[in-house]
Structure formats: structure tokens, C-alpha cells
């Protein structure tokens, strides 16, 4: 199966990278940009028997390693192979 995990700084947490990108976009003429948040994206290939197992395991991966929940939120999307 294949899944995408997205990890973003929590809303209250400062995101200097997002801010820097928004400013840089503004400087090169993209004045229409009002805000940017910068996060991480992971594409994970793995084996799982079914959708439910896959989701449970992915959640564990996020909690154990992929996200630091003190400052980050994560979300998980199953992409393919997730028919069951």
C-alpha cells in the first residue's frame, strides 16, 4: 500500500519557514500570497492486510516517529492499494 503523511507545525506554533517563504514570494512579485505554512510530506510504501490495519499502523508511525505532537499535527491519506 501507499500512503501520504503530512506534518505541519500546530496552529499556535511559530512557523518562521512559512513566513520566510511568504515574504520571498512577495519580493519576487507574488503579492497575492497572504500566508504560507511550511510542513513535511512523506510517501510511505508498506504492507498491510486491510485499510483499517493500514490506518492504525500509520497513526502509530506518526505518533512514534514522524511527528512531534508537542509542536506538530499530522494527517494521513491512503493513496493506492487500499481497496479492502
Amino acid at each position: 500500500m501507499k500512503a501520504r503523511v503530512t506534518v505541519y507545525p500546530r496552529a499556535q506554533v511559530l512557523d518562521p519557514q512559512g513566513r520566510a517563504i511568504a515574504q520571498a514570494l512577495g519580493r519576487v512579485g507574488f503579492d497575492e500570497v497572504t500566508e504560507v505554512r511550511a510542513g513535511k510530506s512523506f510517501e510511505i510504501e508498506f504492507e498491510a492486510d486491510d485499510r483499517a490495519e493500514a490506518e492504525a499502523r500509520l497513526e502509530q508511525m506518526c505518533e512514534t516517529l514522524l511527528a512531534n505532537t508537542v509542536v506538530e499535527d499530522y494527517s494521513v491519506t491512503l493513496l493506492e492499494g487500499a481497496t479492502a
Partner: protein, 245 residues
């Protein structure tokens, strides 16, 4: 007394700490491999700086899952001394031995420079040779040293005296410009409730010999070492003499 320095793949200040503990201060010191769970009877365990596992996800996140970190946690729970420096601080945060998280420096760049620290308490094993309010100069070298936690947690931390060091200017005053990485409340170093676990972003091991032009860090190791032979309680009064050893 026996000291241990943890080695993860990618640790790169392990030998620097080893050098200060073993050669400069002359204590028996071992390197502790990340896959081991035996601390070999070490009374002081240092989690050193570097880029464990390349810091490829978040600094310290992968190392925090190593077998040795479990052993370090148990050692801490038994009241054993644990010091995290730089990447070691990040690992202790990721491993939950201390509260909060590190984010990228707010200028989004690696920073290698001297900073000034104010000693916030000297009743800790690691700070007993300093005075409260004493100003130390120490080098930093990190990309992810912006300490973050939510406001309530920060208040709780302050209330229990969890802040060991703060970034200040050369005169010891709070100043935004001195808080070079943008840490919440200018926090440079933290300790746990019992005071036996401390971690900091600056590198005391890089300023512990005359040849390096600065010895402000030596008293930190020396203090921890005498805390073992001469347990806590007298710390505050034994501190006279500041950074001299």
C-alpha cells in the same frame, strides 16, 4: 567516579566530552554504544552533540528511539545524573525526559558563535560551581535550537524552576538580539523536577581548556563530578569561586 558518553551513529561531540571528562578532569570515562542497554555502572551519563542519524527528520527524533535511551531514562528515574548537550538536548526532548520541543532557529540558518548565558539556579549538580546570575560565555553550533512549548507548559516550567540557563547579552540583560535562535523565554538550558537531568544547547565541553580561550564550561562538569562524591544539598554554598575549578 565513572562517566559515560553515549555514541549514536552521527554523534560528533562524543569525543569532545570524553576528552574533558577523561583527560582534562581525569575521570574514568566510557563510550556507551546506542544499541546497548547497559550503562556499565556510569554515574554520570552525557548525551553529546552531533547529528544523530543525520538529524534527517527532526533533530534527535530517531536517536530517541534507540535502546540506550531506555536505559538512560531508567538511570534518570533512579536519580542518576544525565546531561544532554545540543543534539543531546534534542534527544532528551524527543525521548520525553524533558518537556517541550526544538524547532529551527528563527533565522533558518545554522548558527556557530559565542553566546552569553545567565545561570538561573545553582542548586543543581551541574551548576553548583556557578553563582546565580553569573554570566557565562559559551559557543553554540546548531540549526534547531529554538525551544518551543505551549504557554501553560512554559509557565509551569518557570514555576518549578525548570530553567537552568537563559540567553542574555554580554551584560547579563534580557535582550531579543541575544536570544539568537528565538527560543521561548530565551531558554538555553532546562532541568527536570528532581534536578538530576539537565540539558542545554550551548557546548560547555568546547570551553573547558585555556587553549580554547575560554574555560567557562569546565565548572559545569566539575560540579557534576563533585555532586556525586558529595551529594546534593551543599551545592549552593559550594559554588563560591564561580567558573574556577
Amino acid at each position: 567516579m565513572k562517566c559515560g558518553v553515549v555514541v549514536f551513529p552521527g554523534s560528533n561531540c562524543d569525543h569532545d566530552v570524553y576528552h574533558v571528562l577523561g583527560h582534562v578532569l581525569g575521570h574514568e570515562t566510557s563510550l556507551l554504544w546506542h544499541q546497548d542497554t547497559d550503562l556499565q555502572g556510569c554515574e554520570l551519563v552525557v548525551v553529546p552533540g552531533g547529528f544523530s542519524y543525520g538529524d534527517y527528520l527532526r533533530a534527535g527524533s530517531m536517536a530517541a528511539l534507540s535502546p540506550i535511551v531506555g536505559a538512560v531514562r531508567e538511570h534518570a528515574d533512579r536519580g542518576g545524573l544525565v546531561l544532554g548537550i545540543c543534539n543531546g538536548f534534542q534527544i532528551l526532548l524527543e525521548g520525553g525526559l524533558l518537556p517541550g520541543a526544538m524547532r529551527q532557529n528563527h533565522n533558518l540558518r545554522f548558527l556557530c558563535q559565542d553566546v552569553y548565558l545567565r545561570v538561573e539556579r545553582n542548586d543543581l549538580p551541574f551548576t553548583r560551581r556557578y553563582d546565580v546570575g553569573q554570566i557565562l560565555r559559551m559557543p553554540i553550533a546548531h540549526a534547531e535550537g529554538c525551544y518551543q512549548n505551549d504557554e501553560d507548559a512554559l509557565d509551569a516550567l518557570e514555576a518549578r524552576g525548570g530553567v537552568a540557563f537563559r540567553y542574555v547579552d554580554a551584560d547579563g540583560q534580557d535582550a531579543d538580539a541575544a536570544n539568537v535562535n528565538g527560543s521561548a523565554r530565551a531558554i538555553a538550558g532546562l532541568c527536570n523536577e528532581a534536578g538530576n537531568v539537565m540539558a542545554m544547547m550551548p557546548h560547555p565541553e568546547r570551553c573547558a581548556e585555556e587553549l580554547m580561550g575560554n574555560v567557562d564550561g569546565l565548572a559545569l562538569f566539575a560540579g557534576a563530578l563533585d555532586a556525586v562524591t558529595e551529594p546534593l544539598g551543599r551545592g549552593a554554598t559550594a559554588a563560591a569561586g564561580g567558573a574556577t575549578v
